[in-house]
Symmetry: C2
């Protein structure tokens, strides 16, 4: 089931990761000279002038002396780098990269303790606190990223040295956590181990990993006071550590047992990482309760707490969900990592049921918030992906200081850039999925791959101009037995046409997919109408009243000050924007949209006047309004941007 | 120049202060049993389960043992109480109250040190830090409130025991601060001493107080690093204290010399307290530079940074101004105290020039944000006065947790309630002002008063149904020499009629006042049209686009969930609301307004749907929309409220 993406849109990203991100991140992890780290994060407690991540591992391995430096989860920067590097190596082997990876693998082996434990902060500076401050320790979160890296390394190289590290680490975790008396009856504050254990199960087939994941999911929230009690116990035992923040069980998704959780609450990344594990465990272990809860969480997100850009997390405070229909456009968090996690969640749900809603949301997140996280130069990254920005507000309203109008180069807490790198280098996993007798195609992009069904290996090749044009040719080869081919009809395609071996066929959608019985090799040609869509929000989304968001194909669009005169809130879109195929400097090829808008004129009568009595209509002038795909914003200049644009309301269009 | 307010609208408030607030606050200050103090403020560092304010003074006076408890400026709760009590006593003497006031006066005398110093935190627990952490110490802020209380006590009782305390305190300050070498070349982080010194000058005639005030205004911002340098010096000297927050010269209005400040920035209360002193000193000392700067600050506020309700301070972060036209309705601060300070500032500006803009803004603040600060029961108080509230957001969006949907009963930091009390009990000062040959009437309310002009004491009596009806009878008596009477024509009155001794006269406005030469006793009858006004905001105020705020007379109106079905953002006002004179339970007499609005219907097509393609107009139904005066909100139930309401736009109305 090896897949190769040869699509020009995605090749650019994958290339950037290989040539820019991986070497750059490597230098950061090694504190090489000339790497300036921005002090952009408003976190005085955390030093961000160097990474020290490799150094921490060396100290833990006994190769160096010194103290740990950085976040409690600083190790994960190394693990995520390793995972991206392995994914990149799998796409295109490269001996220099292999040797860097191997050096890291050896270092990890040496840093791991005899009992399997590894987490450098605790090894170096606080061994008495191991597994004793789970609300914030990130030890199992770090373990999860090590496990994910070990799986990627194994898949890319066939070498199992890091799988051995992971197995030893899991033994250590099994010795400390579990239902038995004397073990810890709780899970890590930040979910991640749960989904990583599933990955380890997938390559080893060891059921105990799956069961441990299931146990972590089921112990969580059994006692909402678990984390506080752990700290209270420490106090009694004389174990001192600074409590750096308050414990809120809702933030930690530990306010009630996981199978009973129905609403997406708390830290957004944690929620989707947890939900991914729920869906995976539900699938492998046939756990209906977890599946039901995962479905509830999915519905809670996509019907009430999801931005049109595929972003989640309505508030910076706790980087968290808030409440139904609370989707402010200029104060939200919409972390890149959270949308990456939403892709994980969607993919995991598709294992349980093939319904185009999952792929639709996965695509929405991927083509908008996820890739918005990275600049076109591959060296600057957004953590926060706003739907409305005014640089004045970012600078002078402290409540919006987290909303950056340009991508900073690097942060002390470097979670998003390496997460992007590992996700985009494993994009092949998201294109299609199989059952014993079916192949479901979820994403359309230029690719070739082999998919394993019962007793046959089907070859699939896609040729397409997606995401810009809605034509896809799918070549199906090496068909031995009949099987069902499911082709997703994207929600943005109002219409589609299908030819099989040049013969037009009429076909109904089922759960958002066109279903065709394939009995022998065939060439399918699928054509989607790719109209410009104007989306309205549910009336309970206050911030979007009277506004539309524009979409074409998978791309949500935005307006930027660079293309349109400033004061973007003064525009009211008058008609539906249409595609415009001219070229835009510094943005490469893409399809812009152009519409006309009434723009309010601020005339002299407002000079020195803040409020005026009367409801006289403001004078306006007609202006061209240019839209670009959202993910391209902030690549040219610093200025205003908005996704939701005031719209002249139709009657019954 | 004694004035008595006998107006039923204001009598209610003054009565509440006498019968509820003053006795209640007295019990709080004395930590009497049965006083529950809400822990509503999100400030874990500050204990708020008791006041300890009187206790602190007793400890400083050597009557008790113990440590200081509460804020660094806890003493001011006592001083503001005393000022309110004195104002109340001046309105209606009461021996019991006098004896309470006298006990406090004696206690203050005894707490004051021999060199004049008084500030209980430093006296009790940190004498080595006196005047050494000015960015946050509030020592001169507290001194200012003591001086203001001493002036009020003197005016109410004729006794100068507290004036003596103030004089001694000023000597202490003069010994420590000033241009001479060895003295401190800076001002208190929180302005207040500057305006208090003017009050002391006004009753003593001692020019040195005025000059000290001027010096504090002129030293401020000469060195923006003054506060940081002071802390650095302490470090060298081995004086330790915790720095509880970062020093931002903009927050402290010390980023540039005061006479050069043109924009209202930083902590809103501090800014208007400072600006009040600037206008007062400019008037008394004929300081044109300060007057020019004060005018700039005034213009900056009223043309770019003022809410329609007379609120100021666009952000909770630093309780501060942000930038021009940044007036969010649901995250702002709009502290009651800041609008009180804006009244001070307006009144001080009117000493320099009689222009109705000052009185208009003063009235706007007073009748809306200021009295909104107090519940009708006199026992619950807003610090934050929002223009839009959704209780769900207050509860579940941490970025709006400061916006309370109901008035809490008391806070650890009790600045606003006593500030309200001292202001409303001195409202007589705001009604009119004089020069040698003129009397200017700024506010209309039932009152009788005597005003001193050159060589004559003019009697003025107003009889009116204001603020509900626009008719005022003004009786002018004891006229000896001709003088000019200025009658303010409020900005909300589109038209006015004037009769002098029953004879209609035509008169032009000059700077917003009708000017009449009075040569002998006369009865004037002034009639204002009191139309319902719909205000639009400047187009740069993003949050108000397409919305109106409704006003009648001095009252800005709002809609509340109590009178209108919830989901207030779904309404679009279709016509101008009209007065409706029916009675409203639990709110007493007032004039409600009623209009019709289109309300969006959330039909079944939205079930499980967050975004819908197309711009089909939402289905609506016509609904009655009831408006009540803003200051009355949150007196009946907890629910949504908003001032700015979506409005069907007119063509050329």
């Amino acid at each position: 089931m090896k897949t190769h993406i040869n699509d020009s849109f995605w090749q650019r990203y994958i290339q950037l990761i290989r040539t820019e991100m991986i070497p750059y991140q490597w230098r950061v992890l090694n504190d090489e000279a000339g790497i300036a780290i921005d002090k952009e994060r408003d976190d005085d407690n955390i030093p961000s002038d160097k990474s020290n991540a490799i150094e921490n591992l060396k100290i833990a391995a006994g190769q160096k002396e010194g103290h740990h430096y950085g976040y409690l989860f600083q190790d994960t920067d190394v693990y995520k780098w390793l995972e991206s590097a392995a994914n990149t190596y799998a796409i295109k082997p490269d001996e220099k990269l292999k040797s860097m990876m191997d050096d890291v693998a050896v270092l990890i082996e040496e840093a791991q303790e005899d009992d399997g434990y590894i987490s450098t902060y605790y090894q170096i500076d606080a061994p008495e606190q191991k597994f004793r401050r789970l609300f914030e320790s990130h030890e199992l979160y770090s373990a999860g990223h090590l496990i994910e890296a070990s799986v990627a390394y194994y898949k890319a190289t066939g070498e199992d040295r890091l799988i051995s590290v992971s197995k030893k680490l899991v033994v250590c975790i099994q010795n400390a956590f579990g239902p038995e008396e004397g073990k810890i009856h709780g899970a890590d504050g930040h979910q991640e181990i749960e989904l990583a254990l599933v990955r380890l199960y997938e390559v080893t087939g060891d059921q105990s990993y799956l069961d441990l994941s299931e146990w972590f999911l089921e112990i969580r929230g059994q006692d909402p006071d678990f984390y506080q009690k752990q700290l209270d116990e420490n106090k009694k035992m004389g174990i001192r550590h600074e409590k750096t923040w308050g414990i809120d069980p809702v933030y930690l998704q530990a306010h009630k047992p996981v199978p009973e959780q129905e609403e997406a609450v708390g830290h957004a990344v944690r929620l989707v990482y947890m939900a991914t594990a729920m869906a995976e465990v539900a699938y492998h272990n046939k756990n209906q309760k977890l599946l039901k809860a995962a479905k509830s969480l999915w519905k809670s997100i996509v019907t009430k707490r999801l931005y049109i850009t595929g972003g989640i997390g309505s508030t910076v405070h706790g980087e968290a969900f808030t409440f139904d229909y609370d989707l402010p456009n200029d104060t939200m968090y919409c972390e890149t990592c959270a949308s990456i996690g939403l892709m994980f969640f969607a993919r995991a749900m598709m294992k349980n049921e093939v319904d185009a809603e999952y792929a639709d949301i996965m695509e929405r997140a991927l083509y908008n918030t996820v890739i918005s996280g990275m600049a076109l130069d591959g060296k600057h990254f957004f953590y926060v992906n706003p739907l409305e920005v005014d640089p004045k507000s970012s600078k002078r309203d402290p409540g919006k200081s987290h909303v950056k109008p340009t991508r900073p180069s690097w942060f002390g807490c470097a979670c998003c850039p390496p997460n992007l790198a590992r996700t985009l280098t494993s994009l092949d996993r998201y294109i299609a999925s199989t059952t014993t007798d079916s192949l479901s195609v979820h994403l359309y992009m230029g690719m070739e791959g082999t998919y394993e069904l019962e007793d046959q290996m089907i070859k699939l090749k896609q040729t397409t101009q997606m995401p810009y044009e809605g034509e896809v040719t799918l070549e199906i080869k090496e068909v031995v037995h009949p099987f069902t081919l499911r082709l997703r009809i994207p929600s943005w395609a109002e219409d589609f046409k299908l030819k099989v071996n040049d013969i037009p066929i009429e076909i109904e959608r089922s759960d958002g997919y066109a279903m065709i019985e394939i009995t022998s090799d065939a060439t399918l040609s699928l054509t989607f109408a790719m109209p410009v869509l104007e989306w309205q929000s549910h009336p309970l989304v206050k911030e979007d009243k009277g506004k539309v968001a524009v979409q074409r194909g998978p791309f949500v669009y935005c307006i930027e000050e660079e293309d349109n005169e400033a004061l973007l809130h003064l525009y009211t879109l008058a008609d539906k924007p249409e595609p415009k195929f001219s070229e835009y400097e510094r943005l490469g090829d893409f399809v812009a949209l152009e519409g006309t808008a009434e723009k309010i004129l601020i005339d002299d009568s407002w000079s020195g006047v803040l409020y005026k009595a009367g409801i006289k209509k403001q004078r306006t002038e007609m202006k061209k309004l240019t839209f670009i795909p959202y993910h391209l914003w902030a690549n040219r200049s610093t200025g205003e941007m908005r996704v939701w644009v005031d719209r002249k309301q139709g009657k019954d269009v």
